[in-house]
């Protein structure tokens, strides 16, 4: 790949027409069925050694300071990676995606809009999926074949999640594996092989015992030391709500379309609450951390969460990719005191 370093950020000049950028979890089976490679743009941004440059680039191009950092990161990931095709869910993820999609189109990116149905209706969902089949020129049966293949991978991810609850796998490892399952790192076979190796390697590990067992609710935290910090407090984040939902590993018994209806993230807090409650009980959690992203409409959903969850909940807020700030650490420490 030809790379050009401009102030430590590379721009890729190579247009890889096989790559399809995704801004959140979408029916990834469709992209694989079309023989293309999904790229979760969030992961490109947050795993870069200098994610701040992504934000800076977006702000130079006009994104306001008081706008979600993930959106800025996604925008710059498309530009830096020279991605020419993006699927953007304009309903069911982020309220900024509409505007992002328009800006990307201005940058000669083909944006395929997609909407999780607000009403969680199976026919509306099928409609949306069929539009994607047409866009990618694939048939339903081809897509179902990929979905079938992914079933075993998802079952292994469920095993990985169970091992996290048992204390064999760290919450950070859990987070990384589950988040990566939004695109299976662009290569299902390789992902599955690596997962097999990883699961085999943890078998002989000692079990981690935590003083407190917590769950993390909400979008993936932008803090780079989030899990390390909780681990240092001898606290196990044994439930990563949204990454677990991204993997859809709990829904392998469902049909293809129902799996995407069970997947709770796009359908609002009222729907998510019941699933969260079940996990709180089955994982024997002492408390929840509700992570919210600065300037995100999901901050409002905190009202509903607090009203319906009867274990202690601490709501924290992150803005840019960095370590947890002193003020938030103070609040976390005191939350632990309350537990």
């Amino acid at each position: 790949m030809v790379e050009f370093f401009d102030d430590f950020v590379y721009y890729s000049f190579m247009i890889d027409n096989n790559k399809v950028g995704i801004t959140t979890t979408i029916p990834v089976e469709i992209i694989y069925a079309a023989g293309l490679k999904p790229v979760d743009l969030n992961n490109i941004f947050i795993t870069d050694k200098n994610p701040e440059k992504f934000i800076e680039k977006a702000e130079i191009d006009g994104f306001p300071g008081n706008c979600c950092s993930w959106i800025k990161g996604i925008y710059s990931a498309v530009i830096f990676e020279n991605i020419k095709k993006v699927i953007a869910p304009v309903w069911g993820d982020c309220s900024n995606t509409h505007a992002l999609s328009e800006v990307l189109k201005e940058n000669d990116v083909e944006v395929i809009e997609f909407a999780y149905p607000y009403n969680r209706n199976i026919n509306s969902l099928k409609n949306e999926f069929h539009k994607l089949y047409n866009s990618f020129d694939v048939s339903e049966s081809e897509v179902i074949l990929v979905w079938d293949k992914l079933k075993s991978v998802r079952k292994k991810l469920e095993k990985l999640d169970n091992l996290t609850v048992e204390g064999k796998i760290t919450p950070l490892e859990n987070h990384i594996w589950l988040v990566n399952s939004s695109d299976f790192n662009g290569n299902i076979e390789e992902f599955e092989n690596n997962l097999d190796e990883f699961l085999a390697s943890v078998e002989k590990r000692k079990t981690l015992n935590y003083k407190f067992r917590l769950g993390c609710i909400g979008v993936p935290p932008i803090f780079s030391d989030f899990h390390d910090y909780f681990q240092s407090l001898n606290t196990g984040m044994v439930y990563n709500e949204i990454p677990l939902e991204f993997s859809m590993c709990k829904y392998t018994g469902e049909s293809f379309y129902n799996q995407y209806l069970e997947y709770s993230y796009p359908y609002g807090m009222s729907y998510r609450i019941n699933k969260i409650k079940q996990e709180v009980e089955s994982r024997k959690l002492d408390g929840l951390i509700h992570y919210t992203q600065c300037f995100c409409y999901r901050q409002i959903e905190d009202i509903i969460l607090k009203k319906h969850i009867d274990i202690p909940v601490l709501t924290i807020e992150g803005d840019r990719p960095s370590n947890i700030d002193a003020r938030t650490k103070l609040r976390i420490e005191n939350f632990m005191e309350l537990l």
Binding site: C294, A326, R327, L330, R331, N334
Partner: protein, 265 residues
């Protein structure tokens, strides 16, 4: 071994210790000594010694403090408690979480067990609900300087007013949600002919409105105990009394509440 409570805040660092001797035994030039009324704060001691230093100066002189406190039992709270240059290799250094310290301090100083503690610090505002002497819940301000003491300090600098807390009449609403935007709003209002004392009162009111909603989350009949650097601010006390129907409970050493609480934790 002598014991000391230290609260390393974002703006000021506070030291507190107790003795039966009216001459302080540390940092002579920084320390004030007060006789404690019998049965108040600490029954076993007659005197409280308090010291106050700018936190930036504290960090610059950290080696001096470290040496001076080598043989003390240190109970430390505040943002700076994790500063390893201070705590490293000290044999008797205990870190106490902030809210725990403030809560303990309020119990010791007010003698109450059921109350809402309001603490406005340089960097953040904390509201703690105390039930039967236990911390039942807490809220802190949004991640924004407009709810902190620093906001008032900056605005009084802009207005060139020293005792900004004395102004509470003829309030007008300031529209800005952000401390930085408020600065330019004040300049605009000054240029349109609005008097400084009106703006000073309005700045107090803007801050009050920010923490009022935190107190209101604990809607209750129990007293409000006011700690921190702004506890003496007349305007804030006035607004609280006006809205909640009762004046906040004052403590003798509001600025030192965290350090006192750490001492007794």
């Amino acid at each position: 071994m002598n014991k000391i409570g230290i609260d390393i805040g974002s703006r000021l660092t506070k030291f507190v210790t107790f003795s039966n001797n009216n001459s302080p035994f540390f940092f002579q030039n920084l320390t004030s000594t007060y006789e404690i009324a019998p049965q108040k704060i600490d029954k076993s001691h007659k005197f409280i010694h308090t010291g106050l230093i700018n936190t930036v100066d504290f960090y610059s002189e950290i080696e001096v403090f470290r040496k001076e406190l080598e043989n003390f039992e240190i109970k430390c709270t505040g943002y700076g408690k994790n500063n390893i240059n201070f705590s490293e290799n000290h044999n008797n250094f205990v870190k106490i979480p902030e809210l725990k310290s403030h809560h303990r301090g309020a119990i010791v100083q007010s003698g109450l067990e059921n109350f809402i503690l309001l603490d406005i610090g340089g960097q953040d505002t904390k509201v703690i609900l105390s039930k039967n002497g236990k911390m039942a819940d807490f809220i802190t301000n949004e991640k924004c300087a407009a709810s902190s003491g620093r906001f008032l300090e900056n605005m009084s600098n802009i207005l060139g007013i020293n005792e900004i807390g004395n102004y509470y009449q003829n309030v007008i609403e300031l529209n800005s949600t952000c401390a930085i935007f408020t600065e330019s709003e004040l300049i605009g209002l000054l240029s349109s002919g609005i008097k400084k004392d009106v703006l000073a009162a309005s700045v107090n009111y803007a801050l009050y409105k920010r923490f009022k909603k935190l107190i209101m989350k604990f809607s209750s009949e129990i007293p409000i105990v006011f700690a921190g650097g702004l506890a003496e601010n007349k305007a804030l006390n006035y607004f609280i009394k006006k809205d909640f129907g009762k004046a906040p409970v004052k403590m003798e050493f509001p600025v030192f509440n965290g350090a006192i609480g750490a001492f007794f934790s």
